[in-house]
Symmetry: C2
Subunit: 494 residues, 2 copies
């Protein structure tokens, strides 16, 4: 039986390694690859994904899992081995229900849709993207049909791919609690005049780059294990603890890169502190996209937009950009980087309005999956909700329904994890403060070791061993709660 | 039967794709990866190679090859399909003799040895590298044992991995013909005084970088399909026509990068012009390392060190470095970059002494494989040969036995291909001149399209369809000959 477990692990290690390789290839594609290489890369990715799927859905894996039932039952359910078997069984049962041909069709449709979306967005032409979106949705619905047995609702199947063991109904409940107070707060804040003109202007990218490196050095990245590269759409990736790759975008006319670097640092630290002894097994990987996002939002918002942090770091920023910021006081700067202003674009949204962008998408996606909306009516529905939730008028689809890459890549069910993570980040921060009462003073001295270690011990080291809710519960003493986040918003912005 | 052929090709495509992925990972490791990432990368490479090996040695492939015997016989032996079957059979019969576990051990040991070698070289500490070298050699000897049946000698097995269908005895024969005249030429030239002091000095890397890009732009690289990165040891890689990656090293105190970039351009062009309709099949890949090297040496030496080229390009070089080269005449510069001077380092060697560096390694490797030398005695044997062949005294192992990366990566059997390619490059150049009589004038005008096209048609488009000797024969009308190369050396340097 020990042998069956070893053989199962060998299989899992292969699949995990192939996933890590795919991450390197994807990083390369977004940062280094010559543009024409797309053709080769699409082939390589398809081959890699097909092999990983074949390896994992091999009937031999099913046989091993059957053999291991009694082992699993004999073990402490929270032990690494029991969890490895349980997770593998869960992933296997989902994977084998989906025919390879459907996976290939989904991958193919997504690669075909992506360039069409890019062009449609550039030209604000939803109609040209519509047939491709229809195809992506149709395939995703076929995917749902394969896996839906036993699910409470169809959307659960899609959500589960990004936020495992999480029900749509649970998310709806948390979001329902968030919505009215956030709408109210936005109404209060929307006409407040805050000057942030000075964080737009002439910010040479080479100096932004130096600052970004300085910030992550301070937070605690080490150049022998991390790298930072420029890219169009910032992301974090990397195969493991000792190879962490974050990216950022140095817009020459604004300071955004600093916050996006802090955000990606949080993702990177999660990878950097994953449990080493489990790093080639599924349970050693990230818990969920929501938990991942809680890490990035914690560093970006709870640390990076806080007054203690800027007390420490603002002099460095002023030294770097004396013309723009030399005459701007700390308090004025701090208010500017926390300015609340309803806008059109999710990725540029402040902490308060951000949630509404996510809820809008979450609601529309459920309508799509349940057939309550015709795809051709999406732009109108989008624009109505933008007006209802944020009071902004959408001038064209490029600034509306076409703004995000996700649907073009067939990613439906992803968006809510952004807000789940944002909400969780406050609970996690507060739990850290309970254990490290002078955490704000640490931040004010530019010292982050205690926070890193706390996150490592209470969140990162758990890997994918527990569900997101269980992980959060073990880290903070409570499952996901709307109230701490709402209190934080009110305290910070109200 | 058509179906069996299609199924064989599907398998081959997967294996070729995995090889292309491995090339990206290796490029990444040498140019971008955080140093500590080695640990993860070794695991990824081992997994990738094991999977490729499993896929290719699957009994199903053997069955398909059996089924296809009659198809192969019914086809024109030079047709793409017949060659695909023949090559697959040849590769398969070699591959099935090697257990996957041994392949994985070889890959893993190589990844582990590389950083140790780096450090050992930096500290000139052969002893610290010795156990890793011993491990690499031990594994290679186990590999030889698996495959040696039917080979004339053990070294043939290793040579065949780099220079397929080529016998050690054939190489020895060509080298034996080269050695006395080269030794004689070196003796004649070694005391000739040529001033090359001005190509050493202050050459800021950023200007070298601009020049390197200018040269390859001129030769004909396109930024949408190529990239150039700095690295410690220049190499060329990339998965195919539209994703070509060359690297170079901008030493701030000398002009070497220009020649190394031209060299790697030659390799890159071979990849860039591989036959597109065969790019995912083995026959669409490079013929051999020797033929690869013939391409790089052609651009580096026959083009890049020629007087016509410098007549065209020297004014640009003088403009870039007016302080160093403003007062140096073209002829003086041209003699300096063709100066013959025995030295310690292979990759810095001039065209005449270069061959001796290769022969030394080729001889030592045969001694290693035949057990005629203890690895701990390698430094001494190395130093003795350097004295015998080149009359230079090796001051430390960093400048001796530790200088090359190959053995750290488990590449034994590789070195002779450098000289085989160098010899072939002269034959290929002369064949091109027969077809394009005014080729030197093209070069003198900075026009390279005709040469690129000729190489594409006569060499690159053949892919791996024929043996190196057959490829050379089809391109030039003759198999490998020492004499044209010796004549070229005497004409150029004598």
């Amino acid at each position: 039986m020990a042998d069956a477990l070893e053989r199962l692990k060998e299989r899992l290690v292969e699949v995990v390694d192939l996933g890590k390789i795919a991450r390197i290839l994807s990083w390369d594609q977004q940062t280094k690859m010559p543009p024409a290489g797309t053709r080769h890369r699409a082939e390589q990715m398809a081959t890699l994904q097909r092999l990983a799927h074949e390896k994992f859905t091999d009937p031999e894996v099913g046989k091993l899992l059957d053999e291991l039932r009694s082992v699993e039952e004999s073990l402490d359910p929270d032990s690494d081995d029991a969890t490895t078997i349980r997770l593998a069984r869960r992933d296997y049962e989902k994977a084998v229900r989906v025919p390879s041909s459907l996976r290939a069709e989904i991958a193919h449709a997504a690669s075909a849709a992506n360039p069409v979306w890019r062009k449609a967005k550039a030209e604000s032409d939803f109609a040209s993207f519509l047939p491709y979106l229809e195809r992506n949705v149709e395939l995703k619905l076929r995917y749902v049909e394969c896996v839906a047995e036993g699910a409470d609702e169809r959307y659960d199947v899609l959500l589960d791919d990004y936020e495992p063991q999480t029900k749509t109904a649970e998310v709806r409940e948390v979001f329902a609690e968030l919505k009215p107070p956030i709408v109210e707060l936005i109404a209060e804040l929307r006409d407040r005049e805050i000057d942030d003109s000075f964080i737009h202007g002439d910010f040479p990218p080479d100096r932004q780059r130096a600052l970004s490196h300085e910030v992550v050095d301070l937070f605690g990245h080490r150049p022998d294990t991390w790298r930072i590269d420029p890219t169009e759409h910032p992301f974090a990736s990397g195969p493991g603890r000792d190879d962490v790759r974050i990216t950022t975008n140095y817009h020459p006319d604004r300071l955004e890169s600093l916050f996006s670097t802090m955000h990606e640092y949080g993702h990177g630290l999660y990878t950097h502190q994953q449990p080493q002894h489990l790093e080639r097994l599924p349970i050693g990987q990230a818990c969920s996209l929501g938990i991942h996002e809680s890490q990035s939002r914690l560093w970006e918002n709870l640390v990076g937009r806080s007054l203690p942090f800027w007390r420490f770091f603002y002099p460095r920023l002023q030294e770097t950009y004396p013309e723009q910021l030399g005459g701007i006081e700390l308090g004025v700067f701090h208010r500017a980087v926390n300015r609340v202003k309803p806008g059109l674009i999710r990725i540029q949204a402040d902490e308060v309005t951000y949630g509404m962008h996510v809820m809008l998408r979450f609601e529309l996606e459920q309508d799509i999956v349940e057939g309550r909306v015709e795809l051709r009516d999406l732009p109108q529905r989008w624009n109505e909700k933008m007006w209802d939730y944020l009071g902004v008028e959408v001038p064209d689809d490029a600034h509306g329904v076409l703004q995000d890459v996700h649907w073009s890549g067939g990613s439906i069910g992803y968006f809510s994890t952004y807000l789940l993570g944002t909400v969780a980040s406050v609970q996690i921060w507060e739990a850290a403060v309970r254990d490290i009462p002078d955490l704000s003073e640490h931040v004010g001295r530019g010292e982050f070791a205690a926070l890193r270690e706390w996150l490592g011990e209470h969140v990162h080291s758990l890997g994918r061993k527990f569900s997101p809710q269980e992980t959060l519960s073990r880290a903070t003493g409570s499952t996901l709660q709307a109230q701490p986040y709402l209190d934080h918003l009110r305290r910070t912005y109200g």
